[in-house]
Symmetry: C2
Subunit: 323 residues, 2 copies
């Protein structure tokens, strides 16, 4: 049975919505996985009691220390080993769970996963964030969604490789099309590092379709969109901002199209972003997560663990050590 | 009387919509400016006749050569001096018009403006594109919207200075707030060049408010958004793509909010982007421009010329030669 560790104190509305999300996840997916809630035991158990949950698909591991959103990542790792966040990843390292999820301090989650689980390649400075993003043709993978900056070309190629496995295993894209986010379609467009990446991607073990522009991204031309963490973060937050503006203008429009649009763009249906290139599955959920978002993040974690996505990424990356 | 030169053969739907746009512009703004249409004389005059325009606010200068969208910019400048595009800028250099507008080959328009009008500072490789972009709080200036790549920090500071004059003169923002587009608000976030730019902007003669994220951009937190031409181009095309998707889902929603949203995001209300840091006003209109978009581009050109935006930018840039 796959077990998912969930940081009970992570996110703006913890622990209540986190525990609610866990309960919903196990009730709707009975027999598939178990959730291990890591947090202050009495408090977490009180939430379970409030929700009348008495099943055996959820267990609690006591982790009384609290991580603040502005705690320095490496300090958390050093001084708050009994926090829910660090406990999740430590359990995973011991093989007691197969994935970890936190909606808390994302820098601390990244540092914990990096230091405790370890990286699959030295070419990554930090594990790139892979995030599924809605487009006209369905969900695609954006990588890096915000972990790295000033990447060299071979690292961007690794993003493409890791993103392709993500798109194949999680989104079901066969031989996923990889697009390099750029300001034009021509080979000679864009910053020097992007032009260099273009040449490397032509030789890389991915289905490279060339440069894609901002409009193509939204149109869903590529299944995997490769860019710097800097660009990815800006793009992702801009889409979030645009959707929020849309909601402010119209709310959820009461029509089939309106429901489909909301379903596409509501961040809660994303569930969480995956830290790629690590020896294991670490999921960063949105700090604003409500119960539905947490439920989705747990599901995502389950799917990654069940399909051994990190292992598959590791195999692909190992094959190109000589970039 | 201010005169605007308009490339009659520029854009996907030239010359018909271009001439229509010119006629609408002069009819709606009688006595403010004149338009000089540059293109094959007989063809342009036939369009004017079709539209029954017989006033004296439009004149035609014969420019029989045609520029294709894939013509190499510098080749256009060398070999197609009798094209509408090059003729516009040449007339401006001679002082016969005060601004030039083309919806044609934007690389050729940029090269022509750069080579014929000349640049105001050697810190610009290419003139950055300033573009007004809708936000929750109204229009703001994005600079660079796609001309440059791999900019050094001092050049990004110049973008901020030029963009501030743009925002003040054209959009009416007093002491416009300058935001540096980044992946986080903290000073130490982002690529090395962005961190360096942050430090320079603190000392620059602009109203620097710090880093802004993608969501802040859409929220309208800054009046001037500074970024690389690479980032600006991606962001702008992504917004265009998102709005197109919205239109595909809903069309223009028949309500006051729907009309306001459409008015905000319809590219035709932007009219054109300004090439900044040149000795004169050069406007690049969207290749897909219809008559309404051309009319708006002519109006934008008029406003820049009337308010001497390029001269004011030049004065500000001259003051910081020692960056």
């Amino acid at each position: 049975m796959i077990r998912i560790a969930l940081d009970a104190m992570g996110g703006d509305h913890a622990p209540s919505v986190v525990v609610e999300g866990a309960v919903q996840a196990v009730l709707k997916n009975a027999g598939k996985f178990q959730v291990v809630l890591c947090g202050p035991q009495a408090q977490v158990e009180a939430e379970l009691k409030r929700l009348n949950y008495t099943g055996d698909a959820i267990s609690v591991v006591d982790a009384p220390e609290l991580v603040a959103m502005d705690d320095h990542p490496t300090e958390v790792l050093k001084r708050k080993q009994n926090s829910g966040l660090v406990t999740c990843v430590a359990l995973q390292k011991k093989g007691m769970v197969q994935a970890s999820v936190s909606a808390g301090n994302s820098g601390a989650m990244m540092a914990s996963c990096l230091m405790i689980l370890g990286r699959q390649t030295d070419r990554f400075t930090r594990p790139p964030i892979g995030c599924s993003v809605p487009t006209r043709k369905g969900r695609v993978v954006l990588v890096d969604a915000g972990a790295n900056v000033d990447e060299k070309a071979p690292m961007l190629v690794d993003f493409a490789i890791a993103g392709s496995v993500f798109a194949e295993c999680y989104l079901g894209h066969t031989n996923p099309k990889v697009g390099l986010l750029n300001m034009g379609e021509e080979e000679k467009k864009g910053p020097a590092v992007i032009q260099e990446t273009y040449q490397l991607l032509k030789e890389a073990p991915v289905n490279f379709i060339g440069n894609i522009e901002g409009r193509d991204f939204i149109a869903g031309v590529a299944d995997v969109v490769v860019c710097s963490g800097f660009t990815g973060n800006i793009v992702l937050k801009m889409l979030e901002g645009f959707y929020e503006l849309h909601q402010e203008f119209f709310g959820t429009i009461d029509s089939p199209a309106g429901k489909k649009f909301a379903e596409m763009w509501d961040y809660r249906n994303t569930g969480g972003a995956l830290l790629l290139g690590l020896n294991g599955t670490g999921i960063i959920a949105h700090g604003r997560s409500d119960a539905q978002a947490i439920e989705q993040a747990v599901l995502v974690a389950y799917q990654f663990a069940a399909q051994q996505v990190p292992e598959k990424i590791g195999q692909k990356l190992a094959g190109i050590k000589d970039l």
